[in-house]
Symmetry: C2
DNA sequence: TTGACATGTGACCCGATGGTCACATAACTT
DNA sequence: AAGTTATGTGACCATCGGGTCACATGTCAA
C-alpha cells in the first residue's frame, strides 16, 4: 500500500473525517475524550485513529498512560496540489468565494 | 450518501485517482481513449468514471456517440478548505516549499 | 440499411473494510 | 499492593466495493 493510498483510504470513512473535524476544532485530545463524541465503542474509535495515524493525518504524543492526538494537514495540502495548479487555484478560490457571497445574500 | 461522502469514496480508489491524473494532464477524453491507459476492461473504467461523475469530480459532455470527460477541481479545493484555514495554509505551503528545495539540493 | 463503433445495464464473484467483543498490558491513585 | 483508568491486540462477522461478463441501446459511415 502506497503512502497516498493510505491517506485516501483513511479519508474515505465518515467517522474518520469526523475525528479530523474534532481535532481541527481542538487538538491534543485523548482516545477516551474522542470516544465520547462518537456513537461507537472505544475499540472502533481506536481502530479509526490508528488508520489516521498510519496515514500521517494524525500525529500522537504519549503523556503517561494517555495518548494525545494532533491533526496534521500536510497530506491534505498535497492532495490539493496534485490536481490544482497555481493558475486553476486562483480561478477556483474566486469561484468559491463568489458562491459563498451569493449564498449569504439570499 | 452525502455529497462529500461520494467525493471521498470516489478518491479512495487508485484507478480513479489515475483517471483524474490523466484528465488533469489533458481534458476532454472519451471512455475508449481512457480505457487504453488502464489495464482493465472497458466496463471497469466506465464504472469508475460513473463514480467520479456522480461525485462531481468529473463532468461530461456528449458529442454524437462519444462522451467527453473533464476534470472538475472544485470538490478538491473544498476538501482543502475543510481542514486548512488561511493561517495554517501559509505555514504548510512554506513547509512544503522548503521540503521541495531541500530535496532538489541533495 | 447494414455493419462497425462508442457507450450503458444488471448480475455475479470475491476480497477488503467497519464494528464488536474477549482478553491483555501499562500507568495513576490511595 | 490493589483497584481503577487508559489504551492495545487478535479474532470474528456482516456488508461493501472492484472487476468481469452477457446483453442491450444508440450513432456513424458506406
Amino acid at each position: 500500500m502506497t503512502d497516498d493510498d493510505r491517506v485516501f483510504k483513511a479519508l474515505a470513512d465518515p467517522s474518520r473525517r469526523f475525528l479530523l473535524d474534532l481535532l481541527f476544532a481542538r487538538d491534543g485530545r485523548t482516545l477516551t475524550e474522542l470516544e465520547s463524541e462518537l456513537e461507537m465503542t472505544r475499540f472502533g474509535v481506536a481502530k479509526h485513529l490508528k488508520v489516521l495515524e498510519e496515514a500521517g493525518l494524525v500525529v500522537t504524543r504519549r503523556s503517561g498512560r494517555e495518548k494525545l492526538h494532533f491533526l496534521n494537514a500536510v497530506p491534505i495540502r498535497q492532495i490539493h496540489d496534485r490536481w490544482i495548479d497555481k493558475y486553476t487555484e486562483h480561478q477556483i478560490t474566486t469561484l468559491i468565494d463568489l458562491k459563498r457571497t451569493l449564498e449569504e445574500e439570499s
